[in-house]
Symmetry: C2
DNA sequence: ATTTCTGCAAAGGGTTTGCACGTAT
DNA sequence: ATACGTGCAAACCCTTTGCAGAAAT
């Protein structure tokens, strides 16, 4: 989904397009990885120093309402945010060193689904986070 | 791992076995599902009404140090705790209605691993949470 | 004109911490 | 005897909220 589609969805849902809102969403949209609240604030203040933290928090609600926000909660108890624009459900390969996150398409295995089915469990949603080292960081670490 | 093994591990790691600590760990040990801090406190107060919240929080650190604690962070932003006693890496089928959690063994599919390998990503660990309705709750919901 | 949105500051709620006392070893 | 652990209360920090003014429709 391109940025204009996001804005259209926003407007069509009855939300107003303010300067702050645009900047807040843009920051997430252009980030290549999930970001923390602190990073999000810095990115927005870069474009409009007057933006208040609470405005971002309030826009989290908006993005959640639109179904566009993905909250990632790593094992380190931090919270990171990213836009969920993919039509297919996806997951992230998260680098433990540089923090870069790359989306990959979901594919729970057939055997996995079979195990769940056998337990007569009605699976609605799932959450998968994969941690390791990206190619670049792996190479860097090897050098040492 | 049975309860005495947990206690042995605790002692062998240099921690003292206090009445509170025993009760706190026992509560988790005997729960058949991951519990919230509130539930944990109630379970411990049941055995020793004087136990303080901060004591549980401090014992979380101990259990994490021992590698025995599993923190589950559902999409609803809550945090639940459970002991991780299985030797095999496992995941939970978590019921969205009754909260019951059942461990299942891990099996990332071969295709999944292939995708990751192709990206030359060095996978270290992963975290999978599966949400839905258990058989019983599914039946209950059908009745309505 | 009307409704929604924002900045500000204060309140809230879960978690952590300092300290003096208590307990396990 | 000593080091570790606990209860209590205060401190912390992130997030939420009430309000009055500002901006979008």
């Amino acid at each position: 989904m391109d940025f204009n589609k996001v804005i259209d969805l926003l407007k069509n849902s009855g939300y107003k397009l303010t300067n702050q809102r645009k900047i807040i969403i843009e920051a997430l949209y252009h980030s290549d990885k999930p970001i923390s609240m602190e990073e999000w604030l810095l990115l927005t203040k870069d474009k409009n120093p007057g933006i208040n933290l609470s405005t971002i928090y309030r826009n989290i609600d908006v993005l959640e309402d639109l179904g566009l926000l993905e909250k990632i909660r790593p094992k380190d108890d931090s919270i990171k945010y990213t836009l969920n624009l993919m039509e297919n459900h996806s997951h992230f390969l998260i680098c433990k060193r540089c923090g870069k996150a790359e989306a990959i398409e979901c594919c729970l295995s057939k055997e996995f689904k079979k195990v769940i089915e056998d337990k007569e469990f009605d699976l609605i949603e799932h959450n998968l986070e994969l941690y390791g080292y990206c190619k670049e960081c792996h190479n860097e670490l090897d050098k040492k």
